[in-house]
């Protein structure tokens, strides 16, 4: 009887420890945001400008706050992060246009009070009020931060002849030496461009022709890449010599010591805009607006567009006007591509359809 009593008390003590442990864990989580210095939690790609000295550190100095970064390796990961506890804990995030639409439609964003964004009028007209970032009543849900292309890059020391067209990825010349972006939207858009279709008009695309075109390209593909590292390794070892890539990747490859040339094919190229947005239920809305204003403002945008080895395109008109030709060439923006197809707004059915085509190509 005494033994049973001891066992019972020990069991109850253990269970109460378990319960109090989970309670104190949630208490600790709840109290992590308190303190005198406000903290802004920013979700971004690692090494993508905002965490540079002229970014977060400067912002902290200007606004007497603390910036904490949460990094993601894909926008899909960002979405999962937000859905599994990020909302209410992350204040601002940087999705691309396609996912800005997804976030907006799923009620994950706060509308931006543009009166609190002093640089709003200086942002390039072409990237303002994109349908993905605009609510039904005209509310602004995201601000453009930088634009880029996923165009054609190649190693001029390994590639002979002039490269001017997406056609150059096909055929025998570079069989087994091509790297291609493992993103269903970019893949289908690039193939649509190659097959003479308009990828920005998803309602009128011949998906069967695109699938056959991608299957033909697959014969030459060495690897599908999803990040800068996926490209860097095979490119520097010579396993791939040509393929589609982000402009920033071309810049980084050049600075890693491997020659890289980046062109805009005559048929056209795929473009994207990365956008800052404020996540729903943030508890520092004003600080979040200040972050957006700082990120899109002249001081940061100029540094972002001119930093050695990791420069990116600016969306600020005043900054673009100040750049020299050499600085524009460093981000492949000296000659603006004549045909840039931005990622279209896809319905849920179209997203599933497009992904199915891409999966059939990869599984085939």
């Amino acid at each position: 009887m005494k033994r049973n009593f001891v066992n019972t008390m020990a069991l109850l003590a253990g269970m109460s420890l378990l319960v109090s442990g989970s309670v104190s864990a949630s208490d600790a989580e709840g109290s992590s945001g308190s303190g005198e210095t406000p903290t802004l939690v920013v979700a971004n790609w690692k090494g993508y400008g905002a965490d540079e000295e002229f970014g977060a550190a400067r912002f902290e100095e200007l606004y007497n706050c603390k910036v904490e970064f949460v990094y993601f390796n894909s926008v899909e990961e960002l979405y999962t992060m937000l859905q599994t506890g990020g909302i209410g804990n992350i204040d601002v995030a940087l999705p691309s246009t396609v996912y800005t639409q997804t976030f907006r439609e799923n009620g994950m964003l706060e509308p931006i009070d543009t009166d609190k964004i002093s640089c709003y009028e200086n942002l390039m007209e072409a990237y303002l009020n994109l349908p993905e970032a605009t609510g039904e009543s005209g509310e602004v849900y995201a601000l453009p931060w930088t634009w880029g292309t996923t165009s054609l890059g190649y190693n001029p020391e390994a590639v002979t002849g002039e490269i001017t067209s997406w056609d150059d990825l096909y055929g025998e010349a570079y069989k087994g030496k091509v790297a291609f972006f493992d993103d269903y939207v970019t893949a289908l858009m690039t193939s649509a461009i190659h097959t003479g279709q308009n990828p920005s008009d998803p309602d009128n695309l011949d998906l069967e022709a695109i699938k056959n075109d991608l299957l033909a390209l697959k014969e030459n593909v060495r690897t599908y890449w999803a990040s800068y590292d996926d490209y860097l390794n095979p490119y520097t070892s010579g396993e791939v010599v040509i393929g589609n890539m982000w402009a920033g990747t071309a810049t980084q490859l050049m600075n890693a010591g491997t020659p890289c040339n980046y062109i805009y094919p005559e048929e056209g190229t795929v473009g994207y805009v990365d956008m800052w947005c404020i996540i729903k239920d943030t508890d520092c809305y004003d600080l979040a607006c200040q972050w957006l204003d700082f990120m899109c403002g002249e001081e940061f945008q100029y540094n972002f567009a001119t930093v050695e080895g990791n420069a990116h395109n600016t969306v600020n008109e005043n900054v673009y006007a100040k750049l020299t030709d050499e600085q524009k060439a460093a981000v492949w923006a000296l000659e603006v591509p004549s045909k840039v197809y931005m990622q279209p707004v896809l319905s849920t059915e179209q997203q599933n359809e497009w992904l199915e085509v891409w999966n059939e190509v990869k599984a085939g």
Binding site: G107, A226, E239
Partner: protein, 294 residues
Amino acid sequence: MKKEKKKNPFRIGSLWAGPSVLMLLCLSLVPLIMLLGFSFMNGNIMNGVFPGWTLENFRKMFSGDTFSKLMGKSLGIGALVTLICIVISYPIAWGIAKVAKPHNRSMFLMLIILPFFTSQLLLIYAMMMILQSGGILMTLLNKIGIASNGTSILYTPRAVILVLVYEYLPYMILCLYTSLESIGDNLVHASRVLGANTFRTFVNIVFPMSIPGLLSGILLVLVPVCGSFAESALVGGPNGMMVGSLINSQYNTVLNMGYGAALSCVFLIILSIIMGVIRLLVNCAEKRIGGDTE
């Protein structure tokens, strides 16, 4: 008349299992039931709006051949990786259990579990450095004339198999070691004394007694290998896609969790059937081979 005391079948000590049972229910059974429910839902199930019930997910899965193709490929890779792990693990596990001196066994086991001290992604990247053109392996093969300069097996299905074997070999070794260590030396000695050669000793004594470890090892290797997708994405090249990538793309790319859940459920059912068949076959083999188990 003396009344018989009724024994209280309930022991207070059995309450100790309560937290574990609760965790098992919450973290295993409940998610499985939820997964089954989600597989009959349409599209995005995490945006706070009930998406509706549908059978479309299963219709879509079986109307095309993408899932069946990838399922077949994943099972094939899983079977090959498991077989390779078994062939390599038996001699290693036997060596540690029976040949190595007792005071050296801990050191060998530590070497086996060393890869667990780092992340899976780092292991994959380390293997990429070895397998890529100009890496250690290809340089060695080039020197002995097997491979030509500038070639590599990276970005091919063979690289996927190599990386998966490297990652999951420790599981098989440890499972087999546990069973082999429990085999009495006197049984093996008796077998030799009675005239059985190494092969007969293995078939009649060692193999039947190692079956529990073998089955555990197969479970720990075959199931995760069939469902893996990181390895095929990083080193598999254009033909490396496995069924895990298909499921991952539904959840993370287009947020079609309903279809992803349907794929996951069918994948789980197929694997469960396969594991049941393997267990049946191994038990039949054990009975047929004979031999006494302790």
